[in-house]
């Protein structure tokens, strides 16, 4: 029962494997099976929400912290499967495999947030990453120049390099402490056995997760992968792995290094570089997915700003921020996947007159973008506000001012998409027909974005108390 969500995902992956064995795999079957297991995973995460256990000789911890992340991952997975249900960019013959690897990747993420031992962390991360590397080139070759292959190669090369850093850091940690259990590493270092190599080791491990979160300078894969992967795959890359990255960043930031001021300064610089680089580059993008990719880099900087206070308040706020970020991104990708007629990439001007072609989607898009821009009362504002508060409490006045200025830069490119959707004449663009279920999902996202933004107290309190229970 304690690992029910993982078991459901494994069962789902096996079922899809069987579906893929058929000579002519029916896409409808694959879709139904995937949807069923996606929703079942979400239900399972809720059922297992209160579980507490330590499994596999203490390498796998099921606690409130991991279950909170699993619930968020499960919820996002369910939404993701609904909003990308048409899978327009993937050829029907490989759809069962697509869903198979998607579920495996989510399984890796679920295992990742529960892992408290270096080898277990590494294996779960690789399970999640490799499944994801395969999803990118599965896009059908519509352009003839195989951009999806380029994206896949870039993703895997950068990813493997980041993994190499991380593995090196882990080996250093093992060498310094003689154990691979995080708990024992913490205890050993807390006794004062600190040396400069510890901070190097921790930084190298962090680099692996900075890559997932797309923090400067490990962000290079973002624009090309976002553009090259199909809309549905990008929606996945842009959302769920961020949970895993934040969960593990928090776990490793609790490792005492003896050099926390150096770590904080470094993270502040990285956060600012991410924001400026992401926002300034996003200003000139024509492709909506590239734009969202750069905006994601900027938001990763904001998450880092929340983490650098190095206290449970900051961590709780960072979890809140990433939850809100995923919701807003899902809202945007819901619109992108459904406005795209055959799964092609969309330029910003392709949203012309969306307000007349499909008012509900235009509304969802506007809420998602205003939320990302940090306009109240949406969750983006509350997250930004709380992160700035915790950062200023930790006396980073200059960083906070620069971050605030960044929000003013960012508004321009978000607003220019809203402008196109609401003020430009649709011209010859056809009306967009969407299934009522998708409209409903969009409305659910809008409500969630607004409610989480207007009433954040419960979530932030819960996240902060949960973080305090970490070893």
């Amino acid at each position: 029962m304690v690992i029910l969500p993982e078991l459901v995902l494994v069962a789902g992956a096996l079922a899809l494997f069987l579906v893929s064995l058929g000579k002519t795999p029916s896409e409808q079957t694959a879709k139904s099976v995937a949807m069923f297991f996606g929703l079942a995973t979400f239900v399972a995460t809720l059922l297992a929400f209160q579980s507490q256990a330590s499994l596999f000789y203490g390498a796998y911890a099921v606690d409130q912290y991991s279950q909170l992340f699993k619930a968020m991952i499960g919820f996002s997975l369910a939404l993701l499967l609904i909003l990308g249900q048409n899978l327009k960019g993937i050829s029907p013959s490989v759809r069962p495999e697509y869903y198979l690897f998607l579920l495996l990747s989510v399984l890796g993420l679920m295992m990742l947030v529960s892992s408290v031992e270096l080898i277990a962390i590494f294996i779960s991360l690789e399970l999640s990453s490799f499944a994801l590397y395969l999803l990118v080139p599965m896009r059908d070759d519509r352009t003839g120049i195989r951009v999806q292959m380029e994206a896949g190669m870039k993703y895997i090369f950068f990813g493997v390099m980041a993994t190499g850093f991380m593995l090196y850091g882990m080996s250093l940690l093992f060498g310094l402490t003689g154990t691979t259990y995080l708990k024992d590493i913490l205890a050993f270092l807390a006794q004062g056995n600190l040396q400069p190599a510890v901070v190097v080791a921790v930084l190298l491990v962090l680099a692996g997760f900075f890559y997932k979160l797309a923090v400067f300078p490990l962000h290079f894969w973002v624009p090309d992968v976002y553009q090259g992967a199909s809309n549905e795959t990008t929606a996945f890359i842009a959302t769920l792995p961020k949970f895993g990255a934040v969960a593990l960043l928090i776990r490793f930031l609790t490792v005492p290094t003896g050099q926390s001021s150096f770590l904080v300064e470094l993270m502040a610089v990285l956060a600012l570089c991410s924001m400026f680089y992401g926002n300034l580059s996003a200003l000139v993008q024509k492709d909506i997915k590239r734009m969202l990719g750069f905006s994601g880099i900027a938001h990763a900087g904001f998450v880092l700003l929340g983490l650098l206070s190095l206290n449970p308040d900051g961590y709780g706020v960072a979890i809140y921020y990433i939850a809100g970020y995923v919701l807003m991104n899902l809202a945007c990708f819901l619109v992108i996947s459904n406005v795209s007629q055959q799964g092609e990439n969309l330029r910003i001007e392709d949203f012309s007159g969306l307000y007349q072609r499909q008012p509900v989607l235009a509304f969802v898009l506007a809420v998602g973008l205003f939320g990302l821009a940090g306009i109240p009362p949406f969750v983006g504002f509350m997250g930004k506000f709380m992160i700035l508060t915790t950062a200023l409490r930790a006396d980073h006045l200059v960083v906070v001012c620069l971050a605030a200025i960044n929000t003013a830069i960012a508004i321009y490119y978000y607003l220019s998409v809203v402008k196109v959707a609401y003020t430009v004449d649709p011209g010859g663009s056809p009306a967009v027909k969407v299934h009522p279920a998708i409209q409903l999902t969009g409305v659910v996202l809008v409500v969630a974005i607004t409610l989480l933004g207007a009433l954040p107290a419960k979530f932030v309190d819960f996240a902060s108390t949960v973080v305090q229970t970490l070893p």
Binding site: D313, Y355, F370, I375, P376, P377, F381, F385, M386, L388, T389, L392, R393, L397, V400, C401, A404, I405, T407, A408, I411, Y412, L415, S416, K419, Y422, T423, P456, A457, V460, D461, S464
Partner: protein
């Protein structure tokens, strides 16, 4: 919390804030154009009627925040839902609630496309405007303050004139860029004072450097909203392109938020910085008055003319606030209301011509007086009011501001005088052209005079023009308690500082 007079029983202020929002939600489900018009009129009228008990229940003698409500919101960050109202905000709240039904009426025929979303934006706008004036928690204030940008942006961007895209983006970027540092200042104040409750941030012994930094962050945000002289360029663009209702809301309510912010936040939270920096701001106000006057004199577009006249009028308001004496501040507050009434009415008048001739060019509207006698009657009174003709409302406001300025500094007051003369020049120029016209009038025999709806819209404005002009005492009484309390505290603060300085040496 002894600064609050908690309202037991019915939460009137929250009701006023959320009634329009609830009305807007209904419009999401029923889209009919006719229904949307009637429903929006009903909701705004109901809000207006429900706001009248504020007047009867208000105790002008007390400087406390009345009708207050307190609810815990985000305890971890000491954020509470606190609303309340004092003599500074009551008139602005009433102005907002009373003007909104007329905005709906003014859009009755003007808006033909997408009526339900338009009314949705208007209602959401009303929620956030009332919220800004009654919020006593800084986060709550900031949420309303920023959220307002979205509906206002959509009002201009969707239903605006030919250059609506440019104007709406300029409006959004300017105001948003101004207020990002406001957020940092709010957080910094919270970390110093331990709470987001606005009155608890006031009159605290912050260091001068801190005060100056906070003041500058405040000032940038509020000066852009007012707009003060070097930050005013978004205003003519936004005014010209916005639909009539949007222009009225902009002129009557939105601009007041800047001056309200200066009065509510700059003075009591950063008193030393205010006194230190008052002088340059006073001269900026003078620059705004003169500049607005001269630019208005040169305009061919009636909306632009009135927009630039707003820059001048708001210059008088900031002048009155920063001379820091009772006459000046009360005059400034009265002038805020006057400008809301008069300029709102002028925009309505221009909108009525525009509905008929589809042009705002002064040259194309010359001589309409012959065919629209009712119209020019109203226009004449509002124009007279705009340049402060004795007997109209602006005369009282400008007189008080100038009296306060003379008390403060004669040179400054003399420098402001040409602004009043310029106002007469540009308003009379417009009036003369429209009523009598020149020799080369376009043919306007097709024009019809005002209908009953339009007369009903303009009459209440005229009523207030004369009421405030002939008997301003009830209005001044409402604000007097809070204003004198504010200035008394400022005076105390000054003396306290001087004593401290003497003891130090």
């Amino acid at each position: 919390m002894d600064l609050l007079l908690i309202k037991e029983g019915f939460p009137l202020l929250s009701f006023l804030i959320f009634l329009p929002l609830a009305g807007a939600v209904v419009l999401l489900f029923y889209h009919g154009a006719a229904f949307a018009r009637l429903w929006a009129l009903f909701v705004t009228s109901l809000t207006a009627v429900c706001s009248l008990p504020l007047l009867t229940g208000f105790d002008p003698a007390s400087a406390k925040y009345q009708f207050a409500e307190v609810h815990a919101w985000i305890p971890r960050f000491h954020i509470n839902y606190i609303v309340g109202m004092d003599g500074i905000s009551i008139l602005l709240v009433l102005l907002t609630t009373l003007i909104m039904p007329f905005c709906v009426l003014a859009s009755w025929k003007y808006i033909q496309q997408r009526v339900a979303p338009f009314m949705f934006c208007l209602l959401v706008m009303e929620t956030s405007m009332i919220g800004v004036f009654v919020a006593l928690d800084f986060v709550l204030f900031y949420i309303f303050w920023e959220f307002m940008l979205i509906p206002m942006y959509l009002l201009i961007a969707i239903w605006g004139g030919p250059r609506k895209v440019y104007a709406s983006i300029k409006f959004f970027l300017y105001t948003l860029a101004g207020s990002v540092l406001l957020l940092v200042a709010i957080i910094a104040l919270y970390l110093k004072s331990g709470s987001f409750f606005i009155p608890e941030m006031m009159w605290q012994p912050y260091s001068l450097t801190f005060q100056v930094l906070v003041f500058l962050a405040f000032f940038l945000a509020f000066a852009i909203k007012v707009p003060m002289f070097p930050f005013h360029t978004w205003l003519p663009a936004a005014h010209v392109e916005a639909p009539t209702a949007g222009s009225v809301i902009l002129a009557s309510v939105l601009l007041k938020m800047g001056t309200y912010g200066m009065l509510r936040f700059c003075l009591p939270i950063t008193p030393d910085a205010t006194m230190l920096l008052a002088q340059p701001i006073l001269w900026l106000s003078i620059a705004g008055i003169i500049y607005g006057g001269f630019t208005a004199l040169a305009q061919q577009d009636m909306k632009k003319l009135i927009a630039y006249s707003s820059v001048g009028h708001m210059g008088f308001v900031t002048l009155g606030i920063f001379v820091l004496n009772t006459r000046g501040v009360e005059g400034a507050m009265l002038q805020m209301i006057n400008h809301g009434v008069t300029t709102g009415a002028l925009f309505l008048c221009v909108g009525m011509i525009y509905e008929r001739t589809h042009s705002r060019e002064l040259a194309l509207a010359t001589g309409v007086g012959r065919y629209m006698p009712w119209f020019v009657t109203f226009l004449a009174f509002f124009s007279l009011s705009s340049f402060g003709f004795p007997g109209t409302n602006s005369f009282i406001g400008e007189f008080l501001v100038l009296a306060g300025t003379f008390e403060h500094n004669i040179i400054l007051a003399l420098a402001a005088i040409p602004g009043a003369v310029l106002a007469a020049a540009y308003m009379l120029r417009m009036l003369q052209k429209i009523v009598w016209g020149g020799t080369a009038n376009p043919d306007q025999s097709y024009l019809t005079d005002l209908g009953v709806r339009e007369i009903a819209v303009l009459t209440p404005f005229l009523l207030f023009v004369f009421w405030i002009g002939l008997g301003p005492q009830p209005f001044l009484d409402l604000m007097h308690g809070s204003v004198s309390h504010l200035l008394e505290q400022l005076h105390h603060w000054q003396q306290h500082q001087q004593v401290a300085a003497v003891l130090w040496h």
